[in-house]
């Protein structure tokens, strides 16, 4: 009986630590496991007994690549518990800082982590020798996203300015105006990036995903919306627990997510695009069309293209917010703690990020639940692996190993985020 096990010992160019295992027997892929050996940090436990204001800063530390997403889901969940709604310029500023994070995180993934797979390099630094323009363009884009984070949040990683009710300090009009020039340049670079990526040689694939993303109705979603799926689910965020569940399977120690009574689902750029493509800014919609993207995209290898389209959207959206910005009277609305349960979901660069808090009358957290996108996507990543490895079995081992890594990186897994991943024992056949 021909049996082989392929192991990728340390999956590189992802955020966090993971290992990949595939079992192949008699020419059939039996199992694919994305083993995470990121050590648990117990955020949901250490949040108990902390004040909601502290949770905003603590949760940023779940992920250095997408801290704003964690801060945003936190403030929206707490505001939901207190019955606060943020409108006007404060709401616009939240969308603006989220634009910065999408640009920064997507540019990092597209140019530094994922593109080398398509062009055959071990890293962006190695790629820079032959494609200097592409790499410097990626770095310039990333820098433009980071400039928004630094201007509005104080720094790129773990910004200090986001709070429940709004911000600690809001920028003056003329301070924000400094972002216009770099973002106009970034928008041009983003369009070039879409065109560059569109020319890659994408492996063919058509996956039967169920997509899950926020749907807002009037805007491509960042902070707000209902939770929607490609199968017709359409619920308010507070009904998340009634429709989604986390579970453990015997062969794995990781918590996964599924739609109750249905199955696994994918969240992230492909899902957002499927459910909201008509709400992209016209310049991004146009670029998507020119790049050959239809109204839906089920080829995971082209997720890099959708990410590029989202960067273009975020640059244009940020510029629109800057053009309309009026300084709010107060940096934050009044916050009155109230005992209760709050739910929040926002669109992290990697997908839907759900938080739920039980708070007491003093604003102290009594219970916390955080469901990061990578935990939701893990089952689908493994299903992708089984499918693609099956079709690539005749590749030489090294090429097959590389294809596996690329398949995982399609979903830009952020393993540091995925607080629900546990260490797996290596199964040796």
């Amino acid at each position: 009986m021909a049996r082989k096990t392929i192991k990728v010992g340390y999956l590189s160019r992802v955020e966090g630590e993971a290992r990949l295992e595939l079992s192949i027997r008699d020419g059939t892929v039996r199992a694919a496991r994305l083993a995470i050996f990121e050590s648990p940090r117990f955020f949901e436990a250490l949040l108990r007994g902390r004040h909601f204001d502290e949770a905003v800063d603590i949760n940023a530390r779940i992920c250095g690549i997408c801290p704003v997403a964690y801060q945003m889901s936190t403030v929206h969940a707490v505001e939901d518990a207190f019955g606060i709604r943020i409108a006007g310029p404060l709401r616009a500023l939240r969308r603006l800082i989220y634009c910065g994070e999408w640009i920064e995180s997507h540019a990092l993934h597209i140019c530094m982590l994922h593109a080398p797979d398509f062009l055959g390099y071990e890293s962006a630094i190695a790629m820079a020798r032959d494609h200097p323009q592409a790499v410097t363009r990626g770095l310039a884009l990333k820098k433009a996203g980071n400039a928004i984070l630094a201007k509005l949040g104080g720094r790129e990683i773990h910004p200090v300015n986001i709070r429940v009710g709004g911000f600690y300090r809001v920028p003056r009009k003329r301070e924000l105006a400094e972002l216009v020039d770099p973002l106009e340049r970034a928008r041009d670079l983003a369009l070039e990036t879409v065109r560059w990526v569109a020319g890659f040689d994408f492996p063919r694939s058509e996956r039967p995903y169920t997509f899950v993303a926020l749907r807002h109705g009037r805007e491509y979603p960042f902070n707000e919306g209902r939770v929607a799926s490609s199968d017709g689910l359409d619920i308010p965020v507070r009904a998340y627990d009634a429709h989604f569940e986390e579970y453990q399977v015997p062969h794995s120690t990781a918590l996964r997510s599924r739609i109750r009574g249905a199955g696994h689902y994918l969240t992230g750029p492909l899902a957002r695009y499927h459910l909201n493509a008509d709400l992209l800014r016209p310049v991004a919609r146009e670029a998507a069309k020119e790049a050959g993207l239809g109204p839906s995209c089920r080829n995971p290898y082209t997720s890099i293209l959708v990410r590029a389209v989202e960067v273009l959207h975020a640059c244009d959206e940020a510029l629109a917010i800057l053009a309309d910005y009026e300084e709010p009277e107060q940096p934050a609305v009044a916050v009155e703690p109230k005992a209760g349960v709050g739910h929040g979901a926002t669109e992290a660069p990697r997908g839907l990020l759900y938080h739920r808090y039980v708070l007491d009358g003093e604003g102290i957290i009594r219970d916390a639940r955080i469901v990061p996108p990578t935990a939701q996507n893990q089952a689908v990543i493994e299903e992708d692996l089984v499918e693609h490895v099956q079709r690539s079995l005749d590749l030489p081992e090294e090429a097959l190993r590389h294809r596996c890594e690329q398949t995982v990186r399609n979903h830009d897994p952020c393993i540091s985020c995925a607080t629900h991943f546990l260490k797996l024992e290596v199964e040796r056949e």
Binding site: R13, R61, G64, E122, L255, T419
Partner: protein
């Protein structure tokens, strides 16, 4: 002399490695966030091991190892010994690597209880009862503080080790930076609780510049006086329980902050 050094560098670039232990990836991301300098750094030294950025495998020895993250599992306790063996210079970067990070809050709690809260099957968890800094396990050549570290301090540190000198990193408090930034004191002026007087500089007095008090993410300054600051905060009306939490966050494991938080509760 300068020429000789350049010549040597041309012959063989110093090898840099970036290692991750228990952390959020933010400090190593700081290296990639040096958008203007990254390609120049890649010219000056060989980025020999950096799994977040490159798929090149581990081999040989490294001239400079940047270590992110704290030690929280038995496997990590072994791995850091290997990293030390392979590294000529080892620099711990960030609050996790220098003080245990936010995950060191477990050091004040029962980790088995923590595991039960988060995981349906806590028996699968293999973790240590405490989160500890790198220096608890191996000799460390330099510690760069911050949650996250500051870009300019990372650049200074890498440059210093490339040239065989000590990094110029201040150990005084945030207050000095705050004065230089021209901020009105949030503690004295607005009565806003601020850890700046006991916290090490490096961020550029970021939080006071945004009208909020410092929350201590760069850890203790050299020779701080935390009890005196606590007295001041108590006089502002901060309760014991809040004081304990205030000192106990991203650098909860740093001895000066740990001792002070313990004075205000278990």
């Amino acid at each position: 002399m300068a020429e000789a050094q350049t010549g040597r560098r041309r012959a063989k670039k110093p090898r840099l490695a970036v290692w991750k232990f228990t952390s959020c990836d933010g400090c190593q991301l700081t290296l990639l966030d040096l958008e203007d300098e990254l390609l120049a750094i890649a010219e000056a030294l060989e980025i020999a091991y950096f799994p977040e950025a490159t798929s090149r495998p581990l081999r040989g020895r490294y001239d400079l190892s940047l270590v992110e993250g704290s030690i929280t599992t038995p496997e990590e306790r072994e791995r850091i010994l290997e990293v030390r063996r392979r590294s000529r210079h080892l620099v711990a970067i960030g609050a996790c690597a220098t003080a245990g990070g936010i995950q060191a809050l477990r050091n004040f709690a029962d980790v088995a209880e923590y595991a039960r809260i988060v995981y349906a099957r806590p028996d699968y968890i293999r973790t240590l009862a405490s989160s500890t800094p790198i220096s608890d396990h191996v000799p460390v050549d330099f510690e760069l503080r911050g949650c996250p570290i500051a870009k300019h301090q990372l650049l200074e540190t890498v440059a210093a080790f490339l040239h065989g000198r000590r990094p110029h990193i201040p150990t005084h408090s945030v207050c000095a930076e705050c004065k230089l930034a021209g901020n009105a004191c949030v503690l004295v002026g607005a009565g806003t609780p601020c850890l700046g007087p006991a916290t090490r500089a490096g961020c550029g007095a970021l939080c006071p510049s945004f009208g909020r008090g410092c929350y201590g993410c760069f850890g203790p300054m050299e020779n701080p006086n935390p009890p005196s600051l606590s007295d001041r905060l108590a006089a502002l009306g901060m309760e014991k329980e809040t004081l304990r939490r205030f000192w106990r966050s991203f650098n909860a494991g740093a001895p000066d902050f740990r001792r002070e938080s313990a004075r205000h509760g278990p």
